[in-house]
C-alpha cells in the first residue's frame, strides 16, 4: 500500500529528492573545492539535515517578482536557499569570494540576498534574523498582504537575547512568521542541554503564546507537511508559529572541527537515518519514482554542481580598491592616499 502523497504529484515528490541531492552534491563539491584551495574562509556541512530545509521551503510560496513569501536561511539550510531561486553558481562564487558573487566578494557563503526571489541572507551574530524577519512579516500584516516569512535558526541560537526579543515581538504583534528551530543537538561543542533546560522547543513555544510543533527533521515529507499546515494558519492570521526539526549534526561544527566530543556510536546510529537514503527508499517503495529516474536526478545534480563550480573557479576576484564601494548609498569612501599616486596626503 502506498503512503499518502500530501497532495504532491509525482513531479513534486521527485522535486523534493532533487533538492535533497542538490544540497548534498553542492556541499560535497565545496569540500572538493576547499581541498583544491578555492574556498575562502570556513566550510559548514548540513549532512543529515538536508530534509529540514528542503521540506520547509517547498511548502512556501516561492515567486520571483517580489510578491512571494520571505525566507531567511542558515548555513545549514542551503536547500531552502536553492528552492527560493538562489543560483548554484552564486553559492560557489560566494564561498570562493569572487568579484562576480552577489555580494561582490564582500560577504561569505550563504550570506546573500534577493528580495525579488524572497530570501534574505543571515548575518553571523545569532538571533538577529528573527528580529529582521519579525519586521518583514510585520510589514506584510500591516499592509494586509497574504505573504508570510520563515526564519531558520539552530538550537543554540535560542539562547541569545535577540532570539527571545525577536520572537516575543513577533508573537505579540501576531506577525505572520514561522520560526524553524534546527535542533541538531549541538551548538559547536555545546549540547542542546547546555543551551536550554527544556527537552523540546514545544515546551518553549507556550511561553511565547505561540503554537509549536516538533517534527522528524530527517523526514522530508513530514517537514513539508508540518510547515504547510503551519503556513496555512499563519497566512490566515493565526500569528507566529514555531517548528522544531529534530535531527543530528553528523559533521563537525565546521570542517576544521573533528567533533571528537561526540560519541561516534551516536553518529553511526544517525547515519541510518540519512534523509536522502530514507526518502529514496520511499520513492521507490511507493513507486513515486523509478530507479532510473532517481539515477538521472543524482547524475544531473552532481553534474550541475560540477559545471557551476568550474565556471565560478574561472571568474575573477574583486579588485582590491572596490573595498571602498557601497558603504553608503550616496557618500563615497575615500581611498587611502598611501594607495594613490599622490605624493602627499593633502592632494589625495
Amino acid at each position: 500500500m502506498s503512503e499518502p502523497t500530501l497532495g504532491l504529484e509525482r513531479a513534486g515528490l521527485q522535486d523534493l529528492y532533487r533538492s535533497l541531492c542538490l544540497t548534498r552534491a553542492a556541499e560535497e563539491r565545496l569540500e572538493l573545492l576547499q581541498k583544491q584551495g578555492h574556498v575562502t574562509g570556513g566550510l559548514y556541512r548540513s549532512l543529515g539535515q538536508e530534509a529540514g530545509a528542503v521540506g520547509a521551503a517547498y511548502a512556501l510560496r516561492r515567486r520571483t517578482d517580489g510578491t512571494g513569501d520571505m525566507l531567511c536561511h542558515t548555513i545549514r539550510a542551503a536547500g531552502a536557499l536553492f528552492l527560493f531561486g538562489g543560483e548554484l553558481i552564486d553559492y560557489f562564487r560566494q564561498y570562493m569570494a569572487k568579484g562576480t558573487s552577489p555580494t561582490r566578494g564582500r560577504e561569505a557563503n550563504v550570506h546573500w540576498f534577493d528580495f525579488q526571489k524572497g530570501f534574505v541572507g543571515p548575518v553571523s551574530p545569532l538571533g538577529t534574523m528573527i528580529e529582521i524577519m519579525a519586521g518583514m512579516t510585520l510589514s506584510f500584516r500591516v499592509r494586509g498582504e497574504d505573504r508570510i516569512g520563515i526564519v531558520f535558526y539552530g538550537d543554540g541560537a535560542s539562547s541569545t537575547g535577540a532570539w527571545h526579543e525577536g520572537l516575543n515581538f513577533a508573537a505579540v504583534q501576531r506577525c505572520p512568521m514561522i520560526l524553524i528551530v534546527e535542533n541538531n543537538q549541538w551548538a559547536f561543542s555545546t549540547p542542546t542541554s547546555k543551551n536550554t533546560r527544556v527537552s523540546s522547543f514545544t515546551e518553549k513555544g507556550p511561553g511565547y503564546g505561540i503554537d509549536t510543533e516538533a517534527v522528524d527533521g530527517t523526514d522530508v515529507l513530514a517537514v513539508f507537511d508540518a510547515v504547510r499546515r503551519a503556513a496555512l494558519q499563519v497566512r490566515s492570521g493565526g500569528g507566529t508559529h514555531m517548528i522544531e526539526l529534530n535531527y543530528f549534526r553528523r559533521k563537525g561544527h565546521a570542517q576544521h572541527d573533528p567533533q571528537d566530543y561526540v560519541d561516534p556510536v551516536v553518529i553511526r546510529a544517525w547515519e541510518k537515518k540519512d534523509p536522502l537514503d530514507l526518502y529514496r527508499s520511499r520513492l521507490l517503495h511507493n513507486e513515486w519514482a523509478s530507479e532510473e529516474e532517481l539515477m538521472v536526478i543524482e547524475e544531473q545534480t552532481f553534474e550541475e554542481c560540477r559545471v557551476a563550480a568550474e565556471a565560478a573557479i574561472a571568474e575573477p576576484y574583486p579588485e582590491g580598491s572596490e573595498a571602498v564601494l557601497g558603504v553608503y548609498t550616496d557618500v563615497a569612501m575615500p581611498h587611502p592616499w598611501t594607495r594613490s599616486n599622490s605624493p602627499d596626503p593633502t592632494l589625495a
Partner: protein, 341 residues
C-alpha cells in the same frame, strides 16, 4: 589526587618558547592556580577548550565550577560575571569572536563601567577574546572593538602585540580591580615569528604603560597590536634604505592611554605617525593627535598623520581585505613623507 598540569602549559617552566596564544593560556592557568576566585566563562571553552583552544584542558584540571561552558548569551554571561564580581569572584569571560561582544554592550557600558562611580563597588573582571582581520573572516569575525568602548569612562582596554606582553598584561588585567577589555589579535595567536622564551617567574606588565619597541630619533610611530609588527618592518626598511631612524611606541594599553610616553617620544623626534588596524574615523589616532596638539604642539615639525583601515565593514574576499587593511607599504609611504617634510 590533584590532576597533573597539562604538558602544553608547562613550556615556560621548561624554558621552551611559546606563541602568543600559549602565553595567554599560561597567564590564565597561572592566575587560576594563584587565586581561587578567578574563574572562566564562555562558549565552548570547556569540553572543546575554546574556539582557538586557549583553554584546552582547563576543564579537566579545574572542573566545571571554574570553567563554565555557557549558553550562547554574551549579554547574559557578561552580566552574570558582573554579579559574580560583586560577590568577590574574579571572572574572566571569553567572547568567542569579539565581534559578538555587542549583545553585552549594554551591561558593559551601562552597568559594569559605571559600577564603581555609582558606589556599587569595583568590577574586577576581564572580558577577553580574539579580534582583528587578515584571516578572511568577513564582516563578523574580523573586527577590532576597542573604539566601541574607548568612549566609556570606567573601562580599561588592553591590546598586546607580543607573547611576553600578552602574558604579563593578562595577569595584570586579572589582578586589576577595574573591568578590562582584553583584545587578542587572532593573526598573532600562532604567528611563528612571535614565539619567544618567557621569563619563568610571576611577572606582570603594568596596565597603562606603553613600551618603546625600538628607539629612534627622526619619526615616532605610535601603534599597537598587529600593526606594531608592520611598523617595525617599515622602520627597518627606512633605516637601511633611507637612513631614517624611526622610534616605535607600542601602546599596549589603550585605556588609560600612556600620554607621557607618546608626548616624550614626539618631543624627541618632532614627527608623529599613528598606525592602527582599526578603521579610520573615530579611531584612536584622533585622540592621540589632539593630546599631542595639547601637550607638544611647539615640538612638532610636521603634520600628525595616520595609517589605518578604511572606513568600511571588514570585507571577506582576500583582495578586498588586503586593500581594506593597512599594509607595511602604507606605513612606509606615510613615514617617508613625514621624514622628508
Amino acid at each position: 589526587m590533584d590532576p597533573e598540569t597539562p604538558e602544553h602549559l608547562l613550556k615556560t617552566k621548561r624554558g621552551e618558547p611559546v606563541t602568543m596564544l600559549e602565553a595567554i593560556s599560561e597567564a590564565l592557568f597561572e592566575e587560576m592556580i594563584r587565586d581561587e576566585s578567578v574563574f572562566l566563562m564562555g562558549e565552548d571553552i570547556g569540553v572543546y577548550g575554546g574556539a582557538f583552544k586557549v583553554t584546552r584542558d582547563f576543564l579537566s584540571f579545574f572542573g566545571e565550577n571554574r570553567v563554565i561552558d555557557t549558553p550562547i548569551a554574551e549579554g547574559g554571561f557578561t552580566g552574570a560575571a558582573a554579579g559574580a564580581a560583586h560577590m568577590g569572584l574574579r571572572p574572566v569571560v571569553e567572547i568567542q569572536f569579539m565581534d559578538f561582544i555587542s549583545p553585552a554592550y549594554d551591561v558593559i557600558t551601562n552597568y559594569i563601567a559605571t559600577s564603581n562611580y555609582r558606589g556599587a563597588g569595583p568590577q574586577p573582571l576581564v572580558i577577553r577574546g580574539p579580534v582583528g582581520g587578515g584571516n578572511r573572516g568577513g564582516p563578523f569575525h574580523s573586527q577590532n572593538v576597542e573604539m566601541a568602548f574607548f568612549h566609556t569612562p570606567g573601562l580599561k582596554i588592553v591590546y598586546p602585540s607580543t607573547a611576553r606582553d600578552a602574558k604579563g598584561l593578562l595577569k595584570a588585567s586579572i589582578r586589576d580591580d577595574n573591568p578590562v577589555i582584553f583584545e587578542e589579535h587572532k593573526g598573532l595567536y600562532r604567528a611563528p615569528s612571535l614565539r619567544e622564551v618567557l621569563p619563568d617567574d610571576d611577572y606582570v606588565v603594568p596596565l597603562g604603560e606603553a613600551r618603546i619597541v625600538r628607539e629612534g630619533t627622526d619619526i615616532t610611530i605610535v601603534t599597537y597590536g598587529s600593526m606594531v609588527h608592520k611598523s617595525v618592518e617599515a622602520a627597518e626598511t627606512m633605516e637601511t634604505e633611507d637612513g631614517v631612524s624611526v622610534e616605535i611606541v607600542d601602546l599596549r594599553t589603550l585605556l588609560p592611554l600612556d600620554e607621557d610616553a607618546i608626548v616624550e617620544s614626539v618631543k624627541k623626534t618632532n614627527k608623529l605617525l599613528v598606525v592602527h588596524e582599526d578603521t579610520r574615523t573615530g579611531g584612536i589616532a584622533g585622540e592621540i593627535a589632539i593630546r599631542v596638539s595639547e601637550k607638544a604642539f611647539e615640538w612638532l615639525d610636521g603634520p600628525i598623520l595616520r595609517v589605518t583601515a578604511i572606513d568600511a565593514p571588514v570585507p571577506y574576499s582576500g583582495s578586498l581585505e588586503d586593500y581594506f587593511l593597512p599594509q607595511t607599504d602604507d606605513v612606509l609611504k606615510a613615514a617617508r613623507y613625514l621624514a622628508a617634510y
